[in-house]
Amino acid sequence: MDNNMDNNSNNIIVLMVCPVSNYLEQEIEKSFKVFKLWHFEDKEQFINTHKDSIQAVVGSAAAGADAELIESLPKLEIVATCSVGLDKIDLARCKEKGIRVANTPDVLTDDVADLAIGLILAVLRRICESDRYVRSGEWKKGEFKMTTKFTGKSVGILGMGRIGTVIAKRAEAFDCIIGYNSRTEKPNLNYKYYPNLIDLASNCQILVVACSLTEETQHIVNRQVINALGPKGVLINIGRGLLVDEHELVSALLQGRLGGAGLDVFEHEPDVPEELIGLENVVLLPHVASATVETRKAMADLVVGNLQAHFGKKPLLTPVV
């Protein structure tokens, strides 16, 4: 790790707005003074007391820097998020105030894509359900049920960015037919582009939500899209909960208008709609798409690297703004 900073570096104050990992905390503490917002019962009072000294904010997919926080920290120079998603950061306001923003792209792409495929297989082949079938002793009473083949199926990808592209490549190894919807068609891709998301959903059996959450994409997977995917269709969300109209998703699953779902993200994490708990055709994960030892370390290193680069007056490693 590059510790090429001036002697005053340990006086730079970094505010972590949510817990991420012990490793990240330890690494930031090596070079900076850290305040952990979740340790303070009266957050408002804490901010009021320390607002003039906080120069950096570190967040994650769970929390970032909204307008209110940014406005309350006049000395804020950089927001570094331990995530690739930027939906918890008021980017416009950062731009306006000249505050730098850095995220953690690329290092998590493979893990997120792996989990997307893992969720597809878990739902189609009922892997979690069959594991329960064995553990509960049900297997002694009879054979497990029939499942659905994955190889050769049509997969639709919403968002053909870094993660969507890698998901497509993995699905190709299963001889899947790939289609996608994106803001713009990508040149040099051998997959069919659907300018309309409902058309994509009508023409695929598995829809993977892999786009970023912005004001435009909130609830982009709505009732019409879900109905188009249909009673044999499966929705996989490894993006952000708000991309999907969760209320509509729940009712579609309960009514059988959607065949199944694999969800790593939810509208109000850590809350999960209670109605989904009893559904065997749904696999629920507690937002773990980048949760491997290797990737979490790489993400944390990137956060620290960005902080050190900024305060060492060097170019950010992975700048957004």
């Binding site: 893992g118 082949r125 892997i127 083949k149 850590p270 937002h287 773990v288």
Partner: protein, 341 residues
């Protein structure tokens, strides 16, 4: 004719060649009785007769030329002795341990299996079990569903669940690079894994590194995937030595047959942390599963259902019917193991 041939059958059907079925295939229950039907042959259903099997065969099956064995219904030397006209044994499985192949050879009987119709599904499940194991999918789904209470977000409990392990860059050792093993390799290649294998013989057209010894393979991989068949040689092939070579960070996936692994030894290694985890679709004494495994979060357990997809059952029905029709038309079979034409 006998009552169990059914009333109201067309006269023509009485001239159709017959195929003996010992017990109803699971497909009948799932898809209906007509799923293997053809206008080129009809079934002689042994289970519909009140007679014990050997008497039934002596009385009604003397001119039957083909047997369809499903659900592992054994085809023994004794059975074949009672059916002197048999020229074809067709099985709905890929495995053949329930058929006396030697006796079939002696009698000049062709044996045909279901070929590679299952291979994709089995390979897909191997990958599914592996990702589940490394990324705690079943364990996390259990966690979310059992504990519907707000996560202790303040403690960042994503790592209290046991954080996962990256798949990309891991070394995968495939035991048995046949039809299933090759498909597993193709899939995991796309995930950035490096593939090597052990097989009875080295495959000249394959560029993956070959290890002639399964212990050496285990020593050089992080993930061992069992894709071979069960034979006298492969029984308990994955033993204490191999598991020890695989090591504390290693995981094993078995979609072959339970007895290929020394199950007692595997359980001991898992319980004592001598290997990191396992994904198992098969066990030594199905449907019994060692109770120690039921309490572990670092195993994924599957009730021998790697071929249980609607699509593959349909493909298999088509294959069985096509093979039987070819046989009765004296045309080449689509899948054959022992050719005695």
């Amino acid at each position: 004719m006998e009552a169990y041939h059914g009333h109201g059958k067309e006269k023509e059907s009485q001239d159709l060649p017959r195929v003996l079925l010992f017990k109803p295939p699971p497909d009948f229950h799932l898809f209906g009785d007509e799923c293997f039907s053809s206008n080129k042959f009809k079934f002689l259903k042994a289970w519909e007769s009140p007679l014990p099997l050997d008497q039934f065969l002596k009385t009604h099956a003397q001119s039957v030329e083909a047997i369809l064995s499903s659900g592992g219904a054994p085809v023994t030397a004794e059975t074949l002795r009672l059916m002197p006209a048999v020229r074809l044994v067709m099985t709905t499985s890929a495995g053949l341990n329930h058929v006396d192949i030697a006796e079939c050879r002696r009698r000049g009987i062709t044996v045909a299996n279901a070929g590679n119709v299952f291979s994709e599904d089995v390979a897909d499940l191997a990958v599914g079990l592996l990702i589940d194991l490394l990324r705690n999918i079943s364990a996390s789904d259990r966690f979310v569903k059992q504990w519907l209470r707000p996560r202790q977000a303040a403690e960042g409990d994503c790592y209290s669940l046991g954080i996962g392990s990256k798949l990309g860059g891991k070394r995968v050792g495939i035991v048995g690079l046949g039809s299933i093993g090759s498909l597993v390799a193709k899939r995991l290649d796309a995930f950035g894994c490096s593939i090597s294998y052990n097989s009875r013989t080295k495959k000249p057209s394959v560029s993956y590194p070959f290890y002639s010894n399964v212990c050496e393979l285990a020593a050089n991989c992080d993930i061992l995937i069992i894709c071979c068949g069960l034979t006298a040689e492969t029984h308990h092939m994955i033993n204490k030595q191999v598991l020890s070579a695989l090591g504390k960070e290693g995981v094993v996936i078995n979609i072959g047959r339970g007895p290929i692994i020394d199950e007692q030894e595997l359980v001991r290694c898992l319980v004592q942390g001598e290997i990191k985890g396992a994904g198992l679709d098969v066990f030594e004494n199905e449907p019994d599963v060692p109770k120690e495994l039921l309490a572990l979060d670092n195993v994924v357990l599957s009730p021998h259902c790697a071929v249980f997809t609607w699509e593959t059952f349909k493909d298999r029905q088509k294959l069985v019917v096509e093979n039987l029709e070819a046989f009765f038309s004296n045309k080449p079979l689509l899948t054959k193991i022992v050719d005695n034409d």
